[in-house]
């Protein structure tokens, strides 16, 4: 900054340390809870320092879960979540990149209409059309299936816009050179455009993976069979059960496990995450 004021520097760090503390504290508390035995919660106050039961609690949740809560073992829910997040991320990227390609590199009747149809999806989040969407999925026989969990969420206006925006910045001459070099539309897409989109695809993947992972309402609507539970919705069942039996240690172990994959993705791919986040909102 412009001038050097020790007090201001101190204040800056103080603000940030407090901020980090507020942001981290709820998770710290959950982690501490997950390292204790269930008896430790009967005394009426959550412990603030780690206990000795961490491995035991996590192992139990991963392997068998809390059968009393009607939820399957956590490993299965984690696997379902991983499958759902990957399918949604890859599916959204795949269908959006080809839609954007069609819209930017071709001219055809109803091009504008197609663009608007895709745009409208922005204005129709699942939350505002719960019942009829549920009905469609039920009529198609997609309840309690991986297809029902993923396919209805795969359309993406944001991803399509991001790719469209990016394609418009690719120099026209590149496509012209490729045409002179004998590349047709599919070859140009595969050999030139796809490799050039790598960074955008990666950034978008990070955002969409998280989007897929944190889905809650949708799995809640379409799955009743516990084999298809995702971790995020399964935990709600666990937490509800913990109201009566205080298995807080086990519930919080599951919470930590559910948060870990997407949080690690953000921490290790922070650059791509920031790029993806900022660019999808343009």
């Amino acid at each position: 900054m412009v001038e050097n004021r020790p007090f201001l520097a101190f204040l800056t760090h103080l603000v940030l340390i407090l901020g980090v503390a507020v942001v981290v504290f709820p998770v710290y508390l959950a982690f501490i809870a997950s390292t204790h035995g269930s008896g430790d919660f009967l005394r009426g106050l959550v412990p603030l320092l780690p206990g000795p039961h961490m491995i035991e609690n996590y192992a139990r949740m991963l392997n068998s879960g809390l059968s009393t809560a009607g939820a399957p073992p956590v490993w299965l829910m984690l696997a379902n979540s991983l499958f759902m997040a990957l399918t949604i991320a890859i599916g959204k990227i795949a269908i959006s990149i080809i839609s954007a390609y069609a819209i930017v590199y071709f001219k055809f009747p109803f091009r504008l209409l197609a663009f608007w149809l895709i745009f409208i999806t922005l204005m129709l989040p699942v939350e505002v059309r719960i019942i009829p969407t549920f009905k469609v999925v039920a009529d198609l026989g997609m309840l309690n299936s991986y297809a029902g969990l993923t396919i209805p969420l795969i359309a993406s206006a944001t991803a399509t816009f991001l790719f469209r925006q990016f394609f418009l910045t690719v120099p026209d001459e590149l496509m012209e050179a490729a045409r002179v070099d004998g590349a047709g539309p599919l070859k140009f897409f595969r050999d030139i455009l796809l490799p050039l989109s790598q960074t955008n695809i990666a950034a978008l993947f990070v955002i969409l993976f998280i989007y897929g992972w944190v889905q809650y309402l949708w799995p809640l609507l379409v799955t009743t069979d516990s084999r298809y539970y995702t971790i995020v919705m399964g935990i709600k069942r666990l937490a509800a059960a913990a109201e009566s039996d205080p298995y807080w240690n086990l519930v919080m172990a599951a919470v930590i496990l559910a948060m870990l994959p997407p949080v690690l993705v953000i921490i290790f791919m922070q650059r791509l995450f920031v790029k993806g986040l900022v660019e999808t909102e343009k």
Binding site: A178, V180, D181, A183, D191, I192, L196
Partner: protein, 349 residues
């Protein structure tokens, strides 16, 4: 080897904007024809129509005697060099050179042979495994050329290939393109807005204006006998000076040559105006030196004429003795006058 024939070419854009008006042009086998003109004159559109990147509204494009109007760019057997080079950024130089050959199913051994040959000619062998972004502007330009020559096409199409280079490199690459084209003898169509580049490169030069050909011929012909006011003003640097015939007649007296009746505007190149009396028929004009631009071997004098207030440019060898602000007499060589008609814009004699 092939010729390029354009006949009756017209390009109308949506909204009824006509970019090219019924244009005919033929490029002989092995010839380098340069299209030059101000931006928006249609020269790039014409080139892109030959390439197949732009559709033709009417007329036929033939390459090597075959009509190619309906063929895809890749089936026209042409190669193109773009202004921004259009190198594939994610491929190595070798990948860029190979791409077109691979798409045509050229055998591996032949690809390697062609790439090696092109790399040798253009001296880019040391960079073959690098990505375009690791190259300098000049090197990228060479790779773009290389991509064109490995294909051994019927024709090269150049779309302002030197515009992105700095002045010095541009001069070097110009010579190189000329040398290369002479060696390979590949029929070439070259678009530029830089008249110096056009003059030095062309076997024949086409000056275009507003979608039409203004004049077509050898560069020296165009310089010495511009067919229209537009060409006269466009070719040559510094540009030609123009005078009202009436004004000159008043100053010239007997030294004015006989001109056809419809002449009313007279042009003269800055290098045909001398400061010392040339001892040949000439027209003396007095004016004040406003500015002297030394440009190396010669100087450009900006002279404000007495009486008319017109500013003319005189190109004079070395350094003139005159200082800025002094009054002097310039002599227009009577033999070097170019008469035009203002109305038609055409040369009158």
């Amino acid at each position: 080897m092939a010729t390029i024939e354009l006949s009756g070419i017209r390009k109308v854009y949506p909204g009824n904007v006509t970019a090219i008006h019924d244009l005919d042009l033929s490029v002989d086998d092995g010839e380098l024809v340069v299209l030059v003109g101000p931006s928006g004159c249609g020269k790039s559109t014409l080139l892109r129509m030959v390439a197949g990147l732009e559709t033709t509204t009417a007329g036929t494009v033939s390459i090597g005697g075959a009509v190619v109007n309906r063929l895809e760019p890749s089936d026209r057997d042409i190669a193109m060099v773009f202004q921004n080079y259009a190198l594939y950024p994610h491929m190595t130089v070798r990948g860029n050179l190979e791409y077109g050959l691979k798409n045509r199913g050229t055998p591996r051994t032949l690809i390697d042979e062609r790439v090696a040959e092109a790399a040798r000619i253009l001296e880019i062998a040391p960079f073959l495994e690098r990505k375009p972004r690791q190259l300098s502007g000049g090197q990228r330009q060479r790779v773009a050329m290389g991509r064109a020559i490995v294909r051994q096409p019927k024709a090269f199409l150049f779309d302002e290939p030197l515009s992105n280079l700095d002045a010095k490199l541009r001069g070097q690459m110009r010579v190189e393109i000329r040398r290369l084209q002479r060696t390979l003898r590949t029929t070439s169509l070259y678009v530029t807005h830089d008249q110096l580049e056009a003059m030095t490169l062309a076997d024949r030069l086409v000056v275009m204006n507003a979608g039409r050909i203004e004049q077509l011929g050898k560069p020296t012909e165009l310089y010495e006998r511009p067919a229209s006011l537009f060409v006269a003003g466009f070719i040559g640097s510094p540009p030609m000076n123009f005078f009202d015939l009436e004004y000159l007649r008043e100053k010239a007296g007997a030294s004015l040559p006989t001109l056809s009746d419809d002449s009313d505007i007279i042009g003269i190149r800055p290098d045909s105006i001398v400061l010392a009396d040339p001892q040949e028929p000439s027209i003396p004009l007095r004016g004040t030196v406003e500015l002297i631009e030394p440009v190396g071997g010669e100087s450009h004098l900006h002279l404000r004429l007495e009486g008319s207030d017109q500013l003319i440019i005189v190109e004079t060898p070395g350094r003139p003795d005159a200082a800025e602000g002094t009054l002097l007499t310039a002599h227009l060589r009577a033999r070097a006058l170019h008469p035009f008609n203002r109305q038609s814009g055409l040369r009158t004699a």
